[in-house]
């Protein structure tokens, strides 16, 4: 039963208030994209056993989407940040590296 802090309303929200939305920081490919890029965008997922950047919506709260960095093997949450981010905040990446020295990075 996860708890995630919504970066908008600041509430530590119980999992039952949240809806998950899969991998974060996907680049949208539109009408001009190649078959490969479009397939990759829609379906191919990192699905790491470890640090995962993912989308959540505070659906039964403020209604905002936000992003979280979470370990899928331990469920440790490294931090949450607004959905309006092209990349994870530097501070968060530093914090993750400190805890997971061998981590290969988010990209």
């Amino acid at each position: 039963m996860l708890m995630l802090t919504c970066p908008y309303c600041g509430i530590k929200a119980d999992e039952t208030e949240l809806t998950p939305g899969g991998e974060a920081h996907l680049t949208r490919f539109g009408p001009e994209a190649s078959d490969e890029d479009f397939e990759s965008y829609l379906f191919q997922r990192k699905n790491p056993k470890g640090v995962h950047f993912e989308r959540w919506r505070h659906a039964y709260g403020c209604g905002k989407w936000f992003l979280a960095a979470r370990d899928t093997a331990t469920l440790e949450v490294f931090g949450t940040y607004p959905a309006q981010s092209k990349a994870p905040p530097k501070r968060l990446l530093t914090a993750i590296r400190r805890k997971r020295p061998g981590w290969e990075g988010w990209e």
């Binding site: 397939e39 790491p48 056993k49 899928t72």
Partner: protein, 423 residues
């Protein structure tokens, strides 16, 4: 036993038990051998669950390929094979699904005899409840499709539902039972025995079952795969099958490609054992729950899937709560039974929720994964189709529609369409 070139295996029978009883069972042999790995095999299967072992078995039985190793990082059947609710049915809507699940179901019917191990296939019948008008239409559509697919199902009314399953409450205030899709020849089997039976038969054919052997790397050259690195050393092979469910992504990563797979936790629970009260399998999709009674007397209950990536084999409690609530609505007697144990498994979900049996971007590497929440029932069919793919290098009719290319082409096999879409 099929083949006798390998590990010598004595037949199981009531006579063997009587003979052994008289000498305090001292004569029973290992069900499968525990050899040291050879430096090279014709085929290496990664994953000692039902699908991996079945693939190995049919490679030997159907294609005569027995220089095979099955590499398992833990113990055989320790993944989803040993932690599912053991439902077997083939009442699928789409043709490719119905074909492979029906193949699997028919192989389950003779599995105990084929493997000389009682896997306790119990064709007690599976009913999928229709609890909205929309679901009624969805299941009638499936019934019609099944009639043309050679899958025997029928849509039955609420009275017949009650007759087949007296503990059901058909006049539920919120979701009355309006009927059900009934597959009389569906049922359950003993999950562990399926893995053990295949392992024993594979070992008898001379194949190597390598438990506690973790794959740490996959090697390749310009022409394709060359072998694997394991915790017990390097093993060379030119044909590698990845049959590891939730960990498919990790293996694919080692081989340098990515899969349309996400790993989620699916939960299940059992009640304490009680005397027989339910002789069929019931699935209720509107309220997301399914239930059967095991031969031990436990009510075996399947629940929902978390929506977030998870490798912990633990799910979130609210799914258990929702499942139990829904089932109490349909089976009020459950209220005073007790949950004995709950657990989770890691299911590998694809983009269209249908499996992948496919060649990959790396020549010589094949994948069989993405069975999601429904893998157990498919084990023999999946093994049969995967063995054919690996033996011939290209898919046979059972596997053809399940290739990876479908995601690029938009040629999905979507089973979710049959039910559950509120409108």
């Amino acid at each position: 036993m099929p083949g006798s070139r390998g590990f010598d295996v004595k037949r199981y029978s009531v006579f063997a038990i009587a003979r052994e009883a008289l000498r305090w069972h001292r004569g029973w042999e290992r069900a499968w051998a525990t050899p040291e790995p050879k430096p090279e095999y014709d085929v290496v299967i990664v994953g000692g669950g039902g699908h991996g072992l079945a693939t190995a078995y049919y490679l030997g039985k159907n294609h005569g390929i027995t220089n095979v190793a099955v590499v398992e990082k833990g113990w055989l059947g320790g993944g989803n094979t040993g932690r599912n609710t053991t439902i077997i049915r083939s009442n699928y809507l789409q043709d490719p699904s119905a074909a492979i699940y029906e193949k699997a179901r028919s192989l389950y019917e003779t599995m105990s005899q084929d493997l000389n191990m009682n896997v306790m296939f119990s064709p007690r019948g599976v009913m999928m409840l229709a609890q909205t008008e929309h679901e009624v239409r969805g299941y009638k559509r499936t019934e019609m499709a099944n009639a043309l697919q050679g899958v025997k199902t029928e849509f039955i009314g609420p009275e017949r539902v009650k007759e087949l399953c007296p503990i059901i409450h058909i006049e539920g205030p919120r979701y009355p039972v309006l009927g059900a899709l009934w597959q009389a020849r569906g049922g359950t089997a003993r999950h562990d025995a399926v893995a053990w039976g295949y392992a024993r038969a594979c070992s008898a054919m001379g194949m190597h079952i390598l438990q506690n052997t973790e794959v740490t790397g996959i090697t390749r050259d310009a022409s394709g795969v060359t072998g694997i690195e394991t915790s017990r050393g390097r093993i060379a092979t030119r044909k590698l099958g990845l049959v590891v469910a939730g960990h498919s992504g990790q293996l694919a990563e080692m081989a340098g490609f990515r899969l349309p797979i996400e790993s989620l936790a699916l939960q299940a629970l059992v009640s304490e054992p009680i005397k027989p009260c339910m002789d069929v399998v019931v699935m209720a999709n509107t309220v997301h729950g399914y239930m059967s009674q095991s031969d031990k007397g436990e009510m075996v209950i399947g629940g929902g899937t978390d929506g977030f990536n998870n490798f912990t084999q633990r799910g979130s409690f609210h799914h258990i709560e929702e499942t139990v609530r829904a089932l109490i609505e349909t089976f009020p007697m459950l209220s005073r039974l007790k949950m004995l144990r709950q657990w989770g498994g890691i299911v590998d979900m694809t983009g269209d929720r249908s499996p992948i049996i496919s060649t990959t971007p790396v020549p010589g590497i094949f994948v069989d994964c993405g069975w999601g929440t429904g893998g157990f029932k498919a084990i023999p069919g999946s093994g049969w189709a995967m063995a054919e793919l690996m033996a011939k290098g290209q898919p046979g009719p059972l596997a053809e529609a399940f290739g990876l290319s479908r995601f690029r082409e938009g040629r999905f096999i979507d089973e979710s369409v049959a039910a559950g879409v509120a409108h």
